[in-house]
Symmetry: C2
């Protein structure tokens, strides 16, 4: 059936009216079901959290490998055996890695706050003393990255996020002459929300490109580095080595966490960077902390055992969530394929599906869905200041609801997409 | 014996020479023992940490009272039932309290950083835009408080810490005309290192005093609020109510943690403040965190059960550490009482004994102790920039070593104090 569909914009007025009436009926049926479903946030499901239940009975001992009592103060860099696991997983050196508390978002916030207050190892002055501050933001991107910059008063310059990473030419143009452009965000692996994986080539160019600011930072938020949805497991580009080879060792700062590996909110976070950056970060962090929660570090070390333990664990997550992503694709394909009113990603990892609907209809789709009891992330959320210039982008997060709920919700979303498009095209 | 001693300064030259020879012999004997003892930091002992071993097998469930899965994201204010316990313990309202991660030091650092970057609810501008920034620091005080201000570039003005709190007249004089004086530190209960307890009267005056800065902050670090060493359990002054009654509701921000209650480094932290301050803090914190480690919150709730559970638990700590404080006093009394060369506190709570030796000899005492294998906190550590103008203050931390070690170490320290004094007086 799907292959014989006519794109909506090619329909005659009568055909379009008929299509719209069909969608209005489907939407009325949808509302009548009185659903309460939520596809808003990238949260692990209960079934996923249960994969890590053993953590609640760990650690089985109170000493780390070196014999230090993990219950007492100290150890600012985090437990060595945990750092080893993440050095292995992130393809970086042990001495480049530190492990901290339950949130990599907190580490990112600290890095920017510390740059503002003190500047970095290669800064001419603290960022707060610069006349202007700007960051490059690939879009669509992660809403919390943008909200953080907005609160810090850092202007956001957008560039397109392509399938192999940010549009390098656009980035290079923004950074080459303007010293106020101090940094950029990237989610390099299975990006939020598009699922794009930054290629080795794009990564190399980003690390090598000339920047007017001597202390330009790429905040490399590798939140989904191990979150594969297929057997084709993407390998993140080796950002730290590429940067060092290009003579910009301090450019990237890498972040990761176990929030979507063990417990969201009760996991451990990771920062990896050049030795100069690490020393700088720990120097200021030492005034704010005597050390991270080493009991939780040891708990995670015992639970995983090794980097391979993490990789195996992620395959168990995949078994739970891959069918949900398949359900999203199936629902959208069944109702929307061929209509020329929606495009969506089929990510091979991460937590999101990026849905682009007919220009100017994303807000309407979210509104229709809400009235039908299906909560979607607000339209525009994946753009700085929540403003999607084309009003077409919707981020779908299918991991938290049960599979049957994802199927039901997505069938409903597809109806909303079709109806909003029909409304829009009818009004031309 | 001790009552018949003559003060060292009243000895004849020959008597002093004999006393010095006696101490030199005692010190030679001390060194010959080849000790390795450490009285440097206020850390709980293994025996104290073992009081909380049950935490390693908790929580027994994964839902809080409201039915929320504590393993997932969210809940920025912390678990309500944990907040209730601390509201009770700190005599504040539930809605004034938030619970966060493993370090109250981190909360203090965030409060100052947020004031620098954004200013508070009653600031005219962010603190970073002020021409100068100063804090009042009662001395002796907590070295990490001072190190934090030094890193932030905030000038430190010292006032004496009396037995009932900071010298209020001195504080009032510093803050009344100078708008650059933006805040002050206080450890109100069993202060680090003197053990002083801020009286209700002093607290009231501090909360009421006129300040040139409209956004003056008292960082009320109630780290030892429940850490009694006797049956006479001090009640902390009700800082938030006093401040509100004086028309300065946003002046105090209160901090506490379980670092010296359960596990140092794997406990929970607490912030209590006016609703305006709380809203302000959470507003910026929400850009840095999706929520604290609620699993650890629930773990602590199950372990304590209630505020009374905390109080009972602290009595078990007292049973372990009170004898160590008694040993410090006994050793100092036995060898030094009546000599007029040392004064020390007999704290009724907290983690430290404050030892004031003969002016100009503290560094020498620490040096002598080090050569004899006894590690003491560096002389001057309890003063901003590590500079004790009289070089007389030494902070003793007796909780971590075993009782017998405290006895041995303190007998040695007393020898060092006597020898250093004899050296000093001989050189006049």
């Amino acid at each position: 059936m799907t292959t014989t569909r006519t794109a909506l914009e090619n329909l005659t007025a009568d055909e379009l009216a008929a299509f719209r009436a069909e969608q209005e009926q489907a939407y009325a049926d949808l509302k009548a079901r009185g659903l309460t479903l939520d596809l808003t946030r990238g949260k692990p499901s209960t079934e996923q959290l249960d994969l890590s239940s053993e953590l609640l009975r760990l650690p089985s001992t109170t000493r780390d490998r070196a014999g230090t009592d993990v219950r007492n103060y100290g150890g600012l860099e985090g437990l060595t055996e945990l750092r080893e696991i993440f050095a292995d997983l992130l393809w970086v050196d042990l001495d480049q890695v530190i492990c901290q508390g339950n949130s990599s978002l907190t580490l990112m916030h600290q890095v920017i706050a510390f740059m503002l207050l003190w500047g970095g190892p290669d800064s001419e002055r603290p960022w707060r003393d610069e006349p202007a501050l700007k960051f490059v933001c690939p879009v669509p991107g992660y809403d919390r990255h943008f909200a953080m910059l907005e609160d810090f008063g850092i202007e956001m310059l957008t560039v397109p996020m392509n399938v192999d990473g940010p549009d390098v030419a656009a980035v290079a143009e923004l950074v080459k002459d303007d010293p106020a452009v101090k940094g950029m965000w990237i989610v390099p692996t299975y990006a939020n929300p598009t699922g794009a994986v930054v290629s080795e080539e794009v990564a190399a160019e980003l690390m090598a490109m000339p920047t007017a600011a001597p202390d330009f930072r790429i905040l490399w938020d590798n939140a989904y580095a191990f979150h594969h949805l297929t057997e084709d497991e993407a390998k993140s580009a080796d950002a730290l080595s590429l940067a060092a080879a290009s003579g910009h060792p301090n450019r990237p700062i890498m972040f990761a966490s176990t929030s979507k590996i063990t417990f969201a909110g009760a996991g451990v976070s990771v920062l990896a960077a050049s030795l100069a950056n690490k020393k700088w970060f720990l120097g200021h962090l030492s005034k704010a902390s005597i050390g991270p929660d080493k009991v939780n570090h040891l708990r995670h070390v015992e639970f995983f055992g090794s980097a391979d333990g993490v990789r195996e664990h992620m395959r168990r997550h995949r078994a739970i969530i891959a069918p949900k992503f398949a359900a999203v694709d199936a629902a959208l394909t069944e109702r929307l394929e061929g209509l020329g009113i929606a495009e969506w990603t089929r990510p091979t990892g991460g937590y999101f599906v990026n849905l682009d609907v007919l220009d100017g209809t994303a807000s309407r789709v979210v509104e229709l869905a809400k009235e039908a009891g299906i909560a979607l992330t607000p339209a525009g959320a994946s753009f700085p200041y929540g403003r999607d210039p084309r009003d077409r982008n919707i981020r779908l997060a299918p991991t938290f609801p049960a599979l049957a709920e994802v199927e039901t919700a997505m069938a409903g979303v597809a109806v909303c997409v079709a109806l909003a498009a029909a409304e829009k095209l009818s009004s031309r």
